[in-house]
């Protein structure tokens, strides 16, 4: 058997392995109308592209409200809930943020721009948490002046900066300190508990009367998808609060457990799944639903653990801050795109389709699992497609293998779970950026208009005289050769 035949044979085997799971449409509150067309929030999706052009980000407002409510709920048996601060960097669309704030979610900001945006949107400063690996003096000064609820210092290096700015302003900002739990990767973040650096940082911060040291802050590396993963963060954080109490007499008001909770329907694609998809055309499997903590289970486990700990030690239950990003908004948005053209089958038996959305607006898709649906399927039978974006580069391969009903130019597809890291990582690579609309109760509202070509050069100084005819005279050369 030659290499090509072997590939075909193995490809057949790989494709014949049944999918272990398949998310139903109800996962996203999707339905199909009588004609088979997808609907969300009471709105038929095909029509949206006619009205707002393709591609188009679509927010499901009810789901956004629902996720906010889930994060704000008090788990059964717990005294109080947690306080979620939405990670602005995940999806900084003002109307999305405003909606979350209206529900009672705070703002977690990680740059001068995000701090400005939260204040501009009218978020009460007390409902803002300011994180960042390296804060600029201007941003810290603004945070102090406005009375931001919590400034999480990234490490000892930021203590003097914040203390001196506070002193000059006769203010006493509320600060937390970011730590790295034993075994965790530090990178550019935090002070290690196991080396003693974290304790020293607290000691140093407490020695500055200008600082009101109220919080302990940590994140895990990667994502939290299981109880064990959550435990690996919570247990050492609680143990460290004991040391702070014992050695520094510090009773913390706030435990900030950061973000990183997974979205069940999204997952980083393992290298093996990618190889199978590229080489053998095998569609990647989604993560099994039971593999990921729900928001409810996450909160119940986390809060009850903290409350038990406080009760056992006879101390006040600290406030629990969370900084959800992905878990709050991933599944609240989708990206609608149209097929631009369909090409013949390639050597591996897959048909290529070129979409009007590529890595420019869907950066995470090549390396994350994102479900893909036909908006108005032409048939029940499916075939295997390779789907690329519109840009003129081979790297614009979104889905190396996906089963879809037969496609033709103009057909619409829905890329699911695009509410985290799609909009902020979008680029203007060859194309302007799309509009964002929300759907709710059959109503459509434009949250952000599509970028125009003029927008793309609005910051440019154009040379006053237009470009002259190039030195080389193409038309003349052309004539020479044609006759």
């Amino acid at each position: 058997m030659n290499r090509q035949d072997l590939k075909h044979f193995l490809g057949g085997v790989a494709r014949a392995i049944p999918r272990t799971t398949r998310w139903p449409l109800s996962t996203w509150g999707l339905t199909r109308n009588a004609g088979g067309e997808l609907k969300r929030g009471g709105v038929a999706l095909g029509g949206l592209l006619e009205r707002y052009r393709s591609p188009l980000y679509v927010l499901d407002q009810a789901r956004l409200d629902g996720n906010a409510a889930r994060f704000l709920a008090t788990p059964p048996g717990c005294a109080r809930g947690a306080e979620p601060y939405y990670s602005y960097k995940t999806n900084p669309v003002p109307r999305v943020l405003q909606r979350l704030h209206l529900q009672g979610v705070g703002a977690e900001v990680a740059s001068p721009y995000e701090l400005w945006l939260a204040l501009e949107l009218g978020v009460p400063p007390s409902a803002i948490v300011f994180d960042a690996p390296a804060k600029t003096p201007d941003a810290v000064a603004l945070a102090i002046d406005r009375g931001v609820g919590l400034i999480n210092l990234n490490g000892r290096g930021e203590i003097a900066l914040v203390a001196e700015l506070a002193r000059a302003r006769h203010k006493r900002p509320r600060v937390g300190l970011r730590v790295v739990v034993p075994g965790g990767r530090a990178g550019q973040f935090g002070e290690r508990i196991e080396t003693g650096a974290a304790l020293e940082a607290f000691r140093e911060a407490r020695a500055r009367p200008e600082l009101d040291v109220v919080g302990l802050h940590s994140h895990v590396n990667g994502e939290i998808s299981t109880s064990a993963g959550l435990e690996a963060l919570v247990t050492p954080m609680l143990a460290f609060t004991e040391r702070l109490r014992r050695e520094l007499g510090l009773e913390l008001e706030v435990l900030d457990f950061g973000g990183n909770l997974a979205c069940p329907t999204v997952a980083r694609l393992p290298a093996r799944a990618l190889r199978l998809a590229v080489t053998f055309g095998r569609e990647p499997d989604p993560r099994p639903p039971e593999a990921v903590l729900t928001i409810e289970d996450y909160l119940a486990q986390l809060i009850s653990r903290v409350e038990r700990h406080a009760t056992a030690r006879g101390v006040a239950r600290p406030r629990i801050f969370l900084e959800p990003g992905r878990a709050m908004t991933s599944d609240t948005m989708m990206l609608l795109t149209r097929v631009l053209s369909v090409r013949g089958r390639d050597d591996a038996g897959a048909t290529w389709a070129i979409l009007d959305a590529g890595i420019n607006v869907a950066e995470p898709v090549p390396h994350e699992y994102h479900h893909l649906l036909a908006v108005a399927p032409r048939s029940a039978e499916t075939q295997r497609y390779r789907l690329t974006g519109p840009s003129c580069t081979m790297g614009d391969l979104l889905y190396p293998a996906w089963e879809l009903p037969e496609l033709a130019a103009g057909d619409a597809l829905a890329i699911m779970d695009t509410g985290a890291y799609f909009v902020p990582l979008s680029t203007c690579f060859s194309f302007a950026r799309p509009a964002i609309v929300s759907v709710h109760d059959g109503q459509v509202e434009e949250l952000r208009r599509a970028e125009t070509f003029e927008d793309l050069v609005a910051r440019d100084q154009l040379a006053p005289p237009r470009v002259k005819e190039p030195r080389r005279s193409w038309p003349a050369a052309r004539v020479d050769l044609r006759h």
Copy 2:
């Protein structure tokens, strides 16, 4: 020896391996003034950051003019030179494009936006080549109406589209056909020569009287860095022109060899180099200078090959179109950035420094070699740094290992060769995008102003009423717990 010790030991070994090459400052026309500060185009770089804020893209106009002249030159012994069409997607900054056009370089556009931009900049339509894997009817119609010099059809699927639009307009557009040479990867591009599909596509296009079939177009996969790599494209293209002549009686006016010529000072980092840098702190080696074809050698080899082929067959020497991107502009820009903060050494003995430029404005850096220089070194001795960007994510690691003089907050660094795929792949991830200036003969000119916070929400519909106080009363809760 435990794992940690072993890592330290091996790290020492890895670091002790001397660098095989090191580019001198003159590579980029850089000098240092008496105080040791870097200068380019007669401008001291430190002062630029004061005036235009950091980070900042800086274009060396003389080098841009120089690269254009190099691509336009006729190699010794050749009858004529090639016709370069700059790949707009590589760096679509109007003033950069205008400068290239003034020198006589044409425009290679790959999207409706890029076509619009070229026309807006006053590029004569005859000096525009329109490529794209899936062209939209509107863009094709515009290209036909304006008389674009060459429309390269991506495959058979585009023949009918272009022919029908042409017929409706009573025009006869000049078209080429993109092919894939034997052994090449097709992906979403072109028709294969080896399956006969390419010949069939030409036959079909020639049968449409509305189309003036003048060109043959191909690209290699990846980059062209050696004579052998160029030969692997040119030989089968020339052989295919013979088949077209023989079987269809078609004498081509244009051979379009696409882009992909490497920039000598930039290279994709091999996985091994990345592992050594991350794990052992070993600074990656640049590609040896002699490993990459110069623009001159590339042109000489390509053009003489085509001319010999024409002479041998007694036919007119076809026009040679090129679509350089990286080779034209990579080394004409750099990105200046400042150190925001410096952290202590980590377990592997590297000191962490956080810069104000990260993957948001330097997307290629984590996976490509880009030289890095201190703008005003504090000492001749160096130490090993890990350099990250400012965003609140571990993934924002730009340089896992780089030797630099001692750094302190505020120090400026220059990331070299940022003239290809930096600006178009930049994002608004937590930060606004920087300004672009040019330096030339001691003069500085702003080509694109920095983005403002207001710009970032200019397309957003803000809800008329500001967000109300969140439902949960943070300040009250705070008071409860603090006393």
